[in-house]
Amino acid sequence: MAILLEADTRVICQGFTGKQASYHMERAIAYGTQVVGGVVPGKGGSKHLGLPVFDTVAEAVEATGANASAVFVPPVSAPEAMIEAIEAELPLLVCVTERIPVLDMVRVKRRLEGARTRLVGPNSQGVLWPGRCKIGVMPAHREQPGKIGIVSRSASLTSEVIEQTTAARLGQSTSVGIGGDPVYGISFIDCLQLFLADPETEGILLIGEIGGTAEEEAAAFIKQEKPRKPIAAYVAGLHAPTERRMGHAGTVNVFGAGGAAEKIEALRSAGVHVAPSAAEIGATMRRASRGV
């Protein structure tokens, strides 16, 4: 079993007919993901990639029994698209859209409170269950079904980490890209809880970066829960100049919080094995796994 995805995960794509969406959904279908249709307002009744297109999420759910959505809608309309899916009570939303205004995400996050929906992202690489299902924009390349649960804020590093855990003969149970935006859906802690409860996952790898306090919060959770599964981590940005924006909207230090050194220290003090560099993430996870 994986986390977030199941054997009967049936996926629709919001913004289905766009260029990016078409490219990635075609690959998702080829990978074996059960894609059952798409939603594009005004294009209901047509077909795309051989699948039905609907005007609304509610109609798509009604007709296809979809229980997950890949959101590929441009930043201007992505917030309303997510809210529509939340109101339609879809259990899983994976939003890959980049550059959504942060106050729009504050509104979306408010709608998630008490809702049935779990949101992954925005600015997410997606969720990958090796060999079975993928929703998002990650390349399917060197992944291998296995025992490591990966949760990452960085899309580009995730590919690197998948390659390294495969090379270390650990493989992956599920890889989740929670995105690099300041306000987002499921967190490190949510994923840690899911991975800890997942019998297939034997070790957890957490990939963080400068900005925000998500790593510190994860460290506090680990310290308190003392989980029995080994946890390794890597935090990017130890040598990034401060006060500068390094590519992501989320990597600005406010009030001294968010430095890589502080995050690494917090994780170490919680007993997490922290990789000394990005080249040694797989090896660090392997060492952590042997220790148990």
Binding site: P75, I100, V106, S156, L157, S159, E217, L238, R244, M246
Partner: protein
């Protein structure tokens, strides 16, 4: 996007935040005129640069007469102000803001920001405002109070009241503080700012609250719906190469070292820079090629690396995937190298993921003199060596 103090003050004033009277000037003569029109017993002349720490760096001058205002403006305008936030090269001062001097007692801190830990807007306040607020906050976290705002409810005066009392205000000043808090909250929401910060907020000798300095950061991702705010952008504040890079779908930050770096993805780029530093190398830039970049855009980015006279060696670290494939990077590199007139520096390429073999074929086929590395560790070791010796 950052804006200048005078622009931020103008914005928050529209939302009811009291600020000292003042005006902006680009020449010493203009500064003197502003001062004469203000008719105040004393003046403050403030360098307008996008950086904190101006006071300690001599960027804020207190003067007595309009003639002294002119002299202060003359020494600031055209100079480079070096503060603890600007880096050693400092920031050019193109404008000064001239304000009436204000007598005050205590310095408070108050800000509205997007609090990432809760995913909501929060008001932050402290009775210990002024310079070095970060250090003060780190030493005594208890002096910082926070009010998280439910987006469905919006600003609630009763809760803001409690926040004002928490920073030591009482009586009529509580109401005045609530007005200021409401103002910065509204300014944040309506301007799509990620930060509106008043530091210091002072209690004047007359008992009024006044925002002596205001900093505002606007959300770049929301500027599409704020044409008027986009006009506040000061192009002189941005490194010219960074401005150029933005046109080519590149996230680019200029650094001081001699190893040119091109990576796809912000996280991988940060990790690559960390590896370089740990291996004794010194990156010349942070360049993250966005997934939607085309061959031409990659070529423009690579040309920027080749054109940087400090660059002694180049590292390209790409993990192809999604829409950006390794061959796009290789095509762009080849295009830039062919157009380059002078000697090429040693170039190390690590290409993995989608079409990495094709990228290798393209570079070899076009006789681009690159050295291939098998992984990140190998690539960084090779480029650090090449930057030291001049050969790969």
């Amino acid at each position: 996007m950052n804006i200048h103090e005078y622009q931020a003050k103008d914005l928050v004033q529209r939302y009811g935040v009291p600020i000292p009277r003042g005006g902006v000037a680009k020449t010493p003569a203009e500064a003197e005129t502003v001062a004469r029109e203000l008719k105040a017993p004393s003046f403050v002349v403030k360098a307008q640069v996008h950086a904190g720490g101006r006071g300690k760096a001599g960027g804020i001058r207190i003067t007595g007469s309009p003639a002294e205002v002119r002299a202060a403006a003359d020494s600031l305008l055209g100079s480079r102000l070096v503060t603890n936030q600007t880096g050693p090269e400092g920031k050019a001062v193109g404008q000064v803001y001239v304000e009436e001097g204000v007598g005050y007692g205590h310095e408070l801190y108050i800000a509205a920001l997007v609090d990432r830990s809760v995913g909501r807007v929060a008001l932050i306040a402290s009775k210990e405002g002024g310079e070095d607020i970060e250090e003060k906050a780190a030493k005594a976290p208890g002096t910082i109070s926070r009010l998280v705002i439910d987006p469905d409810e919006g600003f609630v005066s009763g809760s803001a009241d409690a926040l004002a009392r928490a920073i030591g205000l009482a009586g009529v000043q509580v109401d005045k503080a609530v007005t200021v808090m409401h103002g910065i909250y509204q300014a944040l929401v309506e301007c799509d700012a990620s930060l509106v910060e008043i530091n210091p907020l002072v209690v004047t000798n007359a008992g009024d609250l006044l925002a002596l300095d205001v900093k505002m950061t606007l959300d770049d991702n929301a500027l599409f719906r704020h044409q008027d705010l986009e006009a506040l952008r000061d192009q002189d504040e941005v490194e010219p190469t960074e401005l150029e890079a933005k046109r080519f779908e590149l996230n680019f930050v200029k650094l001081d070292g001699n190893i040119g770096v091109m990576v796809n993805g912000a996280g991988l780029a940060l990790a690559t820079i960390d590896l370089l530093k740990q291996g004794g190398g010194d990156p010349a830039d942070f360049m993250d090629v966005r997934p939607s970049a085309t061959r031409d855009q990659v070529a423009m980015g690579f040309r920027m690396l080749l054109d940087n006279p400090k660059v002694a060696a180049i590292l390209v670290n790409v993990y192809g995937g999604g829409i950006l494939r390794c061959d796009t990077i290789a095509e762009g590199m080849a295009q830039a190298c062919r157009a380059h007139q002078t000697k090429l520096p040693p170039m190390i390429v690590r290409a993995a993921g989608t079409n990495s073999e094709l990228a290798r074929d393209i570079l070899v086929g076009r006789e681009i003199p690159v050295t291939f590395a098998k992984d990140m560790a190998d690539a960084t070791a090779k480029v650090v060596q090449a930057a030291k010796t001049g050969a790969a």
